[in-house]
Symmetry: C2
Subunit: 459 residues, 2 copies
């Protein structure tokens, strides 16, 4: 597709006009790919020549890059028409990115209704339904007929984000009574009352402060295409559509993977993130983990005497710390997902301990047996000589693994709860974070068992 | 909601009939929650008394537990009606879980069309669009009028999963020509030709073998509610709806988090997975990682002489191996997401190395400086005495960190590519997997630098 367009960086004004014409015959996403590749001045020029309705549709997609900059470069009149035409949710996002002076100048020229919506939507916290929702929905009084409702939908459809659900509200209070799908509307008899034609099930609703993970869960649970956002008076103030939920879920997936990998979220595409940005986002957590991990050095210094007497203990150090970290990261990844899917809540922490502790000890015993066998085999096969006290060394490794893996599972499963209780995202309990935590405790556990079991022999 | 139902385990037949009546007034998801909590016999009894259309809707949701077992317990006739009425995609899933004998007995009693669909759908690989798709779609010949099409939609809507998109096909070949939304249909003039009324943009299509991650990407990119699945003759053979994509994305998120945490995917809810199942799913990977990590012991045995001479080297061992693992898990989590979102493809591996190697070395230098400072400060403040050669020890730590963190980022970023090239999910490149890999190489790098820099002094 893009190859047809030729060398975009040297396009002449006439070829750009021709491009504008060709763009308007493409899927929005494909047109956006092309515009994103244009030089800035050319992109602005293309927007000058695009039909205004098509330009509005492109601005309505979060995929359009430099949208705030392009709006700033267009004439005031042109920018105001585009902002008035856009969905309130996307207009809010673009508007917030614009230069403050230009924003203020444009704001006073906007339609009063657009102004009110922009003001309202900017007030909701990120990751809330309010930040996802749009204010273009269809609501009709419960006194209307099916025919009247269908006629109304046809009249206003150009200005509404979705027409597949119509909300039926009380004529006086505006309270949400029911919802009717377009499917049901076209099947109903024209003269029926719209409320009678609707399903007699209370519609699923959310508030502007509902968390976006919860919104996604409701969409999955009830197979929704959209959900109304209501205020404390049960009036509809907006709606969240499934395409916004898909985008939010993808963002969430990115954030969680990055957090679990032990770094700040990078919301730009990988290849477009600059070297310095990348370094900043990654060095912060890495340095914190490094400094925390320095406690392993401190812990080992405490046991330097034991190490000197039995250098063989050092050989198993990485094996033991890594086993604790691995079991911890398993437990964490399980609990993060279970919390996200609401299979468990913060209150269930005791039940989780009751499951994770025995599992962790059993896993530790499995690894402990493997470790014991390895030492015995190496000793008997003559691959390595652990000395006359090798059974005691093997026993130390066994006991340490049971304790460290058990402790790793315990800490790994509790950390997401602790994060959530402290008001952080449970996914911030990253694999490196747990590994670091378990490393220090693992060393202490290891040398404590060694001191206990090897006293009077090796130590 | 559930509290109103009373003690479900001791319900009498009459109270179960009343329950069946009450269920059919609830949202399907809420009714399913209640049925899932019933004892098996009671659940079957409720289905005997539920209106058949409502029972079909419940079976159509993947959230209904024990659905295959319940179908087996119902009368042949009843089970056949339910299977005939269900969406083809869900019917396939349930059918595959049923007892082989009962399945064969039921199969011959099914409607021929249901039989064909079941046969076809069971042949597609998991994670493909074919496994997600349903065969209930609406297609009309391009010669029809808008009015005729709308009338047809009303007639068949009860048997189709979505009516929001109608596919327009060539009358003779059945080739997909265009798609028209219900929104556009109700706005069009009754006597217009349906093909003229449709948007003149080529519809987005997939094949039955399209990967479900790619399907999700297309839904996000084009804000789709459904997408047609076509065969090599461009005929529509099914469609994938957005609710199936949401479910698939959630499953994908679970799988990826579990894999990245270093374990097999657990697709049952956390609290309902049995102790033994949990142990099996977790001990496999944990044992493999443990055995791989044993190479650290082997590596350390090679350097036992150095360790004995300079026990101080052992103190920094966990610090160094963990830094390599952490930088590796950052790089992996970045590349896994970038691959999933198609920001990069397998072919870009050279470009990724060109980015990750300098980033890794820079990150290593940052940690190296912190490590160097720590040793210098501890030495000067008298907290610990590293001996007269402390600057050489600090230099060894610095050089090792640059190399290990650089290597960690390199391996961490390449592993998802290697996994993908070998035909595995890139997300199988788990944090523990990388940590283990980097631990062994980290030890070798560490002692090589030590041998080089501390020769003639400590070693």
């Amino acid at each position: 597709m893009i190859n047809h367009i030729g060398d975009l960086s040297r396009s002449s004004p006439t070829s750009l006009e021709a491009l504008a014409k060709r763009l308007s015959k493409l899927h929005y996403a494909d047109a956006i790919d092309i515009v994103n590749k244009l030089e800035f001045d050319n992109a602005v020029y293309v927007f000058v020549h695009l039909p205004i309705e098509y330009a509005i549709k492109l601005f309505d997609k979060p995929e359009l890059q430099r949208s705030a900059r392009i709006l700033e470069a267009l004439s005031n009149e042109h920018a105001v028409s585009i902002l008035n035409g856009m969905s309130a949710d996307e207009a809010t996002d673009v508007f917030q990115e614009m230069d403050n002076q230009i924003r203020q100048r444009l704001f006073v020229q906007l339609q009063p209704v657009t102004r009110t919506e922009l003001k309202r939507l900017t007030s909701y916290p990120e990751n809330s339904a309010g930040a996802l929702m749009t204010t273009e929905f269809i609501a009709v009084p419960s006194s209307w007929t099916v025919q009247h409702t269908l006629k109304y939908i046809c009249d206003v459809e150009g200005t509404r984000e979705t027409v597949y659900t119509t909300y039926i509200v009380a004529p006086m209070t505006g309270k949400l009574l029911s919802a009717i799908s377009l499917r049901r509307l076209i099947l109903a008899k024209s003269n029926d009352n719209v409320l009678d034609a609707a399903q007699h099930i209370k519609p699923i609703t959310i508030t502007a402060l509902t968390d976006r993970e919860e919104v996604a869960r409701l969409f999955r649970r009830y197979d929704l295409l959209s959900v109304p956002v209501i205020n404390e008076d049960k009036q509809v103030i907006g709606l969240v559509t499934v395409d916004d939920v898909l985008d939010a879920m993808t963002e969430e997936m990115n954030e969680n993977t990055h957090k679990f990998g032990g770094m700040e979220t990078i919301d730009q595409p990988y290849m477009r993130t600059s070297f310095l940005d990348m370094l900043k986002k990654r060095s912060g957590w890495l340095s914190i983990l490094f400094i925390a991990e320095m406690f392993t050095t401190t812990a080992l210094q405490l046991f330097e005497g034991e190490l000197e007497k039995a250098i063989v203990l050092a050989l198993f150090l990485p094996l033991i710390t890594s086993s604790g970290g691995n079991s911890g990261s398993q437990a964490t990844s399980l609990i993060i997902r279970a919390l996200a899917l609401r299979e468990i809540t913060v209150k269930d922490w005791r039940k989780v301990i009751a499951r994770e502790l025995p599992i962790g000890l059993a896993l530790g015993a499995i690894l402990g047996v493997i470790g014991f066998i390895r030492i015995a085999v190496w000793q008997h096969a003559g691959i390595y000589n652990y000395g006359p006290h090798w059974p005691l060394i093997a026993l130390t490794i066994f006991c340490t693994l049971v304790a460290v893996v058990g402790f790793g599972s315990f800490i790994g499963s509790m950390l997401p709860f602790i994060m959530k209780t402290l008001g952080f995202d449970p996914a911030s309990a990253s694999a490196p974070f747990i590994a670091t935590f378990v490393d220090v405790t693992g060393i202490i556990i290891y040398f404590s068992f060694a001191a206990l079991l090897l006293a009077d022999t090796l130590l």
